[in-house]
């Protein structure tokens, strides 16, 4: 009884609040239009489930294209950012050089600068570089918010690798670079997995840069494509919109469920200095 009051009741309330929008997404995407706009039907249930919205989305819109665009950009930005961050993290975690503290501080500040205050001047820079409306341009652009975060994560991780392993390799005459790729790289695997999950998820979820810098329909990402091509005028296509939101959430949700422990460890690790 006590348990019910201290655990299951509040947990149930949180579950209802936190999970209801997902139920709504699933429900709407399989509900026929007639039921969606019916004022008499019970809105919490569907009597004649349909795949018409999903079919319409996949066959009648550029959704598959947006999906692959998002996948390509997220994969590219993740690969670039992890490679770049791995090198920087090693320098910051292990090498002694002048200005190391300043660089660490710079990386930290870079992490706290949100894209929200950069998109206007960045638009100017992109125009000058001739990068506007080029899908690949999102790869280096996304790395600006991925690199600070994953460098920070990897520095923390590398500091936990015992120095003795490197010192032993150095005694054997291995160079720093050899140590970096033969000793540190394999030992950093869990840290790299965390960085990978975060980079991929953050790229997949990015909205503002893709919204401002991509203009042709065939260069859009999932969130931008749905928001600009499916939301038009006063006639909202709720069915296809929810189907698109659901399908667009799946890749990160699946990745997340496979690596929950890494995700949680990375998130709490990032809060330590």
């Amino acid at each position: 009884m006590r348990r019910a009051l201290s655990l299951w009741l509040p947990l149930g309330a949180f579950a209802l609040f936190l999970l209801f929008p997902f139920y709504w997404m699933v429900l709407t995407s399989i509900k026929p239009d007639a039921e969606l706009v019916s004022v008499t039907a019970n809105p919490f249930w569907v009597s004649h489930p349909t795949f018409a919205h999903v079919r319409g989305l996949l066959l009648g819109t550029s959704y598959p294209r947006w999906f692959w665009n998002t996948m390509a950009v997220a994969t590219g930005a993740t690969a670039l950012s992890i490679a770049v961050s791995f090198l920087a993290a090693y320098a910051l975690a292990r090498l002694r050089f002048r200005g190391a503290d300043a660089v660490s501080l710079g990386i930290y500040l870079a992490y706290l600068i949100p894209p929200a205050i950069l998109f206007i001047p960045l638009a100017d820079v992109m125009l000058r570089l001739g990068w506007f409306d080029h899908l690949w341009a999102l790869v280096p652009v996304y790395s600006t918010f991925l690199v600070p975060f994953s460098t920070w994560l990897l520095v923390g991780y590398m500091k936990s690798i015992p120095r003795e392993l490197e010192e032993a390799a150095m005694m054997d005459g291995a160079s720093r670079l050899r140590i970096l790729f033969r000793v540190i790289l394999p030992l950093s695997k869990p840290g790299l997995v965390s960085a990978f999950i975060f980079c991929f998820t953050l790229s997949w979820n990015e909205y503002l840069y893709a919204l401002v810098f991509m203009s042709s329909p065939e260069h859009k990402t999932v969130p931008v494509g749905l928001a600009t091509e499916l939301v038009r005028g006063d006639i909202y296509q709720w069915g296809p919109l929810m189907a698109g939101a659901l399908l667009g959430s799946l890749p990160v949700a699946i990745l997340y469920f496979f690596f929950v422990e890494h995700y949680v460890a990375g998130m709490s690790g990032a809060l330590k200095g």
Partner: protein, 292 residues
């Protein structure tokens, strides 16, 4: 010997830091500087513009829409961060009881933070639909209301609705942080206090809450930074409406600069956030160093 000097000298760190330096220098530091300069110019899309000093800033301070936006941003940040902290901590305390199925519940309840914000914002938008919202449907059905609620048509209802959606998304951030913090508190502290006859309520306020304070500071600052520069939720659900009542700094900057073409003015709106950002970043740095 040559390998040794390469390993010891400044060349290796320089090479390792060069790629990130180029990326962050060119696409982060440079735009940041360009943005500050733009804020002092009357640049529009297609027109390079001239230096106008503080004109943009002065104009914005007299602009009623900007004033409402500034107040709204402050309110949105303070209210949602407070709720996210309280509810996030409550959920962490519930999950920290370690029961059968703990891992399952923890994983599934963190989902709002993982799913793309714009996509879940679509779901909220649909939930808040003036004609077909299930909230209205249920209230009318129960006889508590005789007409449907126009959630996004009224300034205060729209603000409240956006805050609920933001709290919904942000709870898991605090929960994950607090779960890590709770696990670091030694169990015997609680047991000793319980033996001395302290109530659970006293144990929470006198021990748990006090020990969590440094973590709360860090979580609050991080959450505040991401909340007051929020764009996705607002732009997806209300686009700043009705009648510009729900704009935050960033949505207004977007509307003026990208949709309206006034790049200089948009940059000045973003410029207003810089002192707050600097203050918060400094505070977080201080808190992180003290924690170590």
């Amino acid at each position: 010997m040559r390998a040794l000097s390469f390993d010891r000298g400044p060349l290796l760190p320089t090479l390792l830091l060069l790629p990130s330096g180029v990326l962050l220098g060119g696409l982060l530091a440079l735009p940041l500087a360009v943005g500050v300069v733009l804020g002092f110019q009357d640049t529009t899309i297609g027109n390079p513009g001239a230096f106008v000093g503080l004109d943009n800033y002065r104009y914005l301070l007299t602009d009623p829409v900007f004033r409402i936006t500034a107040l709204n941003t402050a309110l949105y940040t303070v209210v949602t961060v407070a709720f996210k902290l309280a509810l996030g901590l409550a959920l962490a305390l519930i999950l920290n009881q370690r029961f059968a199925g703990y891992r399952f519940w923890r994983s599934i309840l963190l989902l709002p933070y993982v799913v793309p914000t714009v996509l879940s914002a679509f779901a909220w938008w649909w939930i808040l639909d003036p004609q077909f919202s299930f909230v209205s449907w249920a209230l009318v059905k129960l006889g508590l209301l005789d007409q449907r609620i126009n959630f996004l048509g009224n300034a205060w209802l729209a603000r409240g609705s956006l805050m609920v959606a933001n709290v919904w998304r942000g709870i898991p951030f605090f929960t994950v942080g607090y779960l890590a913090g709770l696990q670091a508190i030694p169990k015997d502290l609680h047991e000793a206090a319980a033996l001395d006859g302290a109530s659970e309520w006293q144990i929470f306020w006198r021990i748990t809450w006090i020990l969590l304070l440094p973590l709360s500071t860090i979580l609050t600052i991080f959450s505040a930074i991401f909340t007051f520069t929020d764009f996705q939720l607002i732009w997806t659900i209300t686009r700043g409406g009705p009648a510009n009542a729900t704009h935050l700094f960033v949505t207004l900057a977007y509307q003026r600069a990208i949709a309206g073409g006034a790049l200089g003015e948009g940059a000045a709106i973003a410029g207003f956030t810089l002192p707050f950002l600097a203050l918060l970043a400094g505070g977080a740095l201080f808190a992180l160093r003290r924690q170590d």
